[in-house]
Symmetry: C2
Subunit: 316 residues, 2 copies
């Protein structure tokens, strides 16, 4: 019987659980969308059920510990606080999961664990500390320093999405964080889609069915006039965030994941150029900027790495 850990990743609307080997290999995976009506407890029960099915289907893999990635703030006491899911305020998620499976369990937020997953399991990181941006419905961040996720004094470090870009511009979009013109309110998938729809409307064009941020990048590459300023504003805000964190952290590697990064070089090429322009000369050309090697699985695999750490700490 091969040993493994059980990893969960609770996103905004979707959750995953997987059995993961020590080398980061996903031995088995289940994905579930959150039912619209489910509160935190209902969703957790659904995912616990999914994990039980996973274990039953793979009796040859015995999980020894659990790691949970959570898409929202996690306090220094390990309690989660969801801004989106009702009933998940100040909840001891790790304790609940631990008692369900009678296994040790650790939790952290998805952006910290996205960073840690890339650090531990991306093929050519080779122990380089790194910062991770997740550019999805929102914009989150995490970073690894000396091989450990950096959590800050209150577990609130790496709020990369809320670095100010144009907070004093009264025309800048308001963010859920309570101020205007932060990275997230300009460069998240939702912000880009919204700005794209407005630009199309101003150009007297219709948005296609399922229009999203990816369509903006594709249209900008094709040279469509409505798309370029939308892309440039979003890329500029993201570059601003990256440059700001490099001024603070001087990290050798910045990795970007999340749905918006599926735009590929249509995003990364202009992004790299804008970052350089926002950096002081001494920092230019020092950090590599690239897509997350583990794609959508960075936080899930970071949760697995956390579970292995927990196990190693218990066994001295």
């Amino acid at each position: 019987m091969a040993s493994c850990v059980l990893a969960f990743d609770f996103g905004g609307t979707r959750a995953r659980c997987a059995l993961v080997g020590r080398d980061g290999s996903r031995l088995a995976l289940e994905v579930r969308d959150r039912p619209a009506e489910a509160d935190g407890r209902g969703w957790l029960e659904r995912m616990i059920q999914a994990a039980r099915e996973l274990r039953a289907a793979h009796p040859e893999h015995a999980p020894l510990a659990i790691g949970v990635s959570f898409g929202g703030p996690v306090g220094t006491d390990g309690r989660i606080h969801s801004m989106h899911v009702s009933g998940w305020e100040h909840v001891d998620l790790a304790g609940m999961v631990s008692s369900e499976f009678s296994l040790p369990c650790a939790v952290d937020n998805d952006a910290n664990l996205g960073a840690y997953g890339e650090y531990r399991y991306a093929p050519d990181v080779r122990g380089r500390d790194l910062a991770y941006f997740t550019v999805s419905t929102g914009v989150g961040g995490g970073f690894v320093w000396k091989g450990k996720p950096f959590r800050g004094a209150h577990g609130l470090a790496a709020e990369f999405g809320h670095i100010p870009v144009c907070p004093d511009d009264p025309s800048a979009p308001v963010c859920a964080c309570g101020k205007r013109g932060c990275v997230e309110s300009l460069a998240s998938g939702r912000a880009i889609e919204l700005a794209g729809r407005e630009a199309l409307k101003a150009a007297e064009r219709e948005a296609a069915e399922g229009f999203n941020a990816g369509d903006v990048f594709a249209a900008a590459v094709r040279g469509e006039a409505w798309a370029r300023p939308v892309r440039d504003r979003a890329v500029g805000a993201l570059a601003w965030g990256v440059a700001s964190i490099l001024c603070v952290l001087d990290l050798p590697l910045v990795v970007l994941g999340g749905g918006v990064t599926q735009a590929g070089e249509a995003l990364f090429e202009p992004l790299r150029a804008r970052i350089e322009g926002y950096l002081p000369l001494v920092l230019r050309g020092r950090a590599e900027v690239r897509p997350a090697a583990l794609g959508q699985f960075s936080p899930l695999l970071g949760a697995a790495a956390l579970a292995w750490d927990r196990l190693d700490a218990e066994h001295g």
Copy 2:
């Protein structure tokens, strides 16, 4: 004979050396201005001479190690790079000082050591990690995480002065760092003085003899119309820098030193208000923002702490 360390602090135009006890007490101090014509070697010789005089005058204190604070970038190899003093490019300053006194010597930049000096010796820090801004001719920064100065991958972390504030504004001042509208180009003592002089000129008034940034803060408090927008822009830029680093680091304490902070509450009161406005709600009210307890001596005492660390490391 009481043991102590020898600390140097090389600033832009002035240097200090001191004998410092393990508790951070300054046992003896010498201060020298840099002669206008002196290159790096000339200035170093002058300060080595000052240190020899210090030792000769205090034979009861025997230094066991040396720490050097340097007002410019220090590479991960310990070599210094001055942008202001000729002949100090890629120089092994620690090695030179060490061989002069036949004592172990460590070097770091003045902002890292300002942070570390406050961390180690400010009366009520009590082991809290902190960020340090020096707001002087330029704007520098440093921070302490888990009790150690954070240096980054290339020794370039904490370039707080070069966080972008309005880099795309063609009317924003250009900085020596190679871009426009960073914290330093808006909020340094030089920037405030220059903007103050321009505002006075526009108001058809004369700048008094020795006019500097402090006069802008004093006039703004008195309600003088020319001064308020100058103060507000500088305070806004500094607040932006502080908010940006708090979004990245979530530190419990931000300390500001350097000549401009001698304005006291005329600076700190509006600064605290502006910082809150630039933070996401979850981070508001979490960090204390206050003047450096050690005033102009934070980097010198940080250098002393570094020397004690060096000694402790050698003696295992």
